[in-house]
């Protein structure tokens, strides 16, 4: 009896240790960024253009750039991903073609981000002549997030009870009416979870935007989808490795803003999601 109790304590202890080991790096990163970057935060830092070869002034263009890229890529990838997921889980029969498509989606998720960057360069920038632009960058980022959105949407659709569909059919609804009125409304919170996960991914990626949209330095803010933008992750990379003499708190401040921006956008999306949940 006591032996069993001791074993149990050891078992739970190991599980707890593993859990703490997961939390530790996250905590360490946040503490590091906040302590080293906090002093850089100011209204000037957040809302003005860089000065002195980006060694002083603000990072507003990079903040705006990242925000615009997130918005543009999600508004491209969310509808397409959701539509593909609905087709795959509600209409597609289980045949060879469907299996190949599934395999493709899984593989798409496994492709490294720099390959997406090269793909975006050759397809959007060069072949379709969108140039190095917000459009090219957002489309590249969007394709990168498609697997995440498709997978989470399918999970969300699968979580809607089969009985809702049967009730809807039994009341004379067609397949499309059933999806529209008895499946999608109840899957929306889950679908938004996919979108939330994508926000962080899109905001943080450097490689896909490297060749497709990101600018080293721009004296002016963008005003159309055909313009280049600065972006936070790329700016962080430049400030850390390409420009000598950038103050340390400036670099960590940029990282802090990136993390903060993702957090704010996640909170906003979560708010929207809980509003959908409450609607029931």
């Amino acid at each position: 009896m006591t032996n069993e109790g001791a074993r149990q304590r050891i078992g739970f202890g190991l599980l707890l240790a593993a859990t703490l080991l997961v939390v530790l790096p996250v905590l360490a990163i946040i503490v590091l960024i906040v302590t080293k970057g906090w002093s850089a935060l100011s209204l000037e830092f957040l809302f003005t253009m860089p000065r002195d070869g980006m060694r002083a002034g603000g990072i507003f263009p990079a903040i705006l750039g990242t925000f615009v890229l997130v918005l543009a890529s999600i508004s491209f990838a969310l509808p397409i991903g959701v539509m593909a997921a609905v087709y795959l889980s509600e209409y597609a029969k289980d045949n060879l073609l469907t299996r190949i498509i599934n395999l493709a989606i899984i593989n798409l998720a496994g492709v490294s981000s720099v390959v997406f960057g090269l793909f975006g360069l050759s397809l959007f920038v060069v072949f379709l002549r969108f140039g190095v632009s917000i459009l090219s960058g957002a489309l590249t980022l969007g394709i990168m997030t498609l697997p995440v959105i498709i997978t989470t949407t399918r999970e969300a659709l699968r979580a809607v009870p089969k009985s809702y569909r049967e009730v809807s059919f039994s009341l004379g609804a067609s397949r499309w009416q059933t999806i529209r009125h008895s499946v999608l409304p109840f899957a929306t919170p889950g679908i938004l979870t996919g979108a939330i996960l994508s926000i962080g991914r899109v905001a943080g990626e450097t490689a896909p935007i490297l060749f497709t949209v990101a600018a080293f330095y721009l004296p002016k803010l963008p005003h159309s989808l055909g313009d280049q933008v600065m972006a936070l992750p790329y700016h962080l990379y430049i400030a850390t490795t390409q420009i000598p003499g950038v103050p340390e708190n400036y670099r960590y401040g940029t990282a802090l803003v990136l993390v903060g921006l993702v957090l704010i956008m996640n909170i906003a999306a979560t708010r929207i999601r809980s509003r959908f949940r409450r609607k029931r």
Binding site: S163, V167, S168, S170, L171, S182
Partner: protein, 255 residues
Amino acid sequence: MNNQICKAKIEVKNLTIHFGKVRALHDLSLDVRANEILSVIGPANSGKTSFLRSLNRLNDFEPHIRISGSVRLDGLDIRTDIEAEDLRKRVGMIFALPIPLPRSIYDNITYGPRLAGLRDRAALDRIVEDSLKAAFLWDEVKDRLRSSAQKLSGGQQQRLCIARTLALRPEVILFDEPCSGLDPISTAKVEESMLELRKDQTIVLVTNNTKQAARVGTRTAFFLMGELVEIDATEKIFTAPRDPRTNDYIVGRFG
């Protein structure tokens, strides 16, 4: 009972259903007469539910299903002469567990009519009131039609589901063990509404509760391992069945 003069509402001929390699129903032929309550009894896996779901083609969504034989509604083949959506508007279904959609009571009941294209507010209001009254639920919910249907009790939910089905004014209603999750009082209310509905509708009731079949069934069919053992007037089945297996089941020797 003047069963002889009643005409067949549904004619089932040589219906056989396979799910993959499993045979759920074998060469079933029977008629459902207009304005009767046909009770279908039998042990688990006897094909009762497969039979019921083939009457509104809800089996169609099962993968690897094979169906042969025919089902006719008022003489029309339900697979070739009627669209599945139209068939399901004429042949409603109540499921074993009450499944209110996560919407308001009002929206649950108007779900079918709205999707069928009815937009007129006054007409929808009238349908809601009539359907709830026919399901004996109106007095309990008339002041909170806009509140969530999922907040109702189990018995109320099942009567809501009946009202929701009635909203489409179906000619036939299929009940799939509608009282399996209900307490005796709620069961009595559901049975009461079934007997009331019989005046205008034809009812097929699948039940695990032989007493329920005896209480409400005009006729009763006994299924065993995917085959129809016998079908007859309810009092005949319960007092003098022709087949000894029917008697064994009714007195509780198996099943």
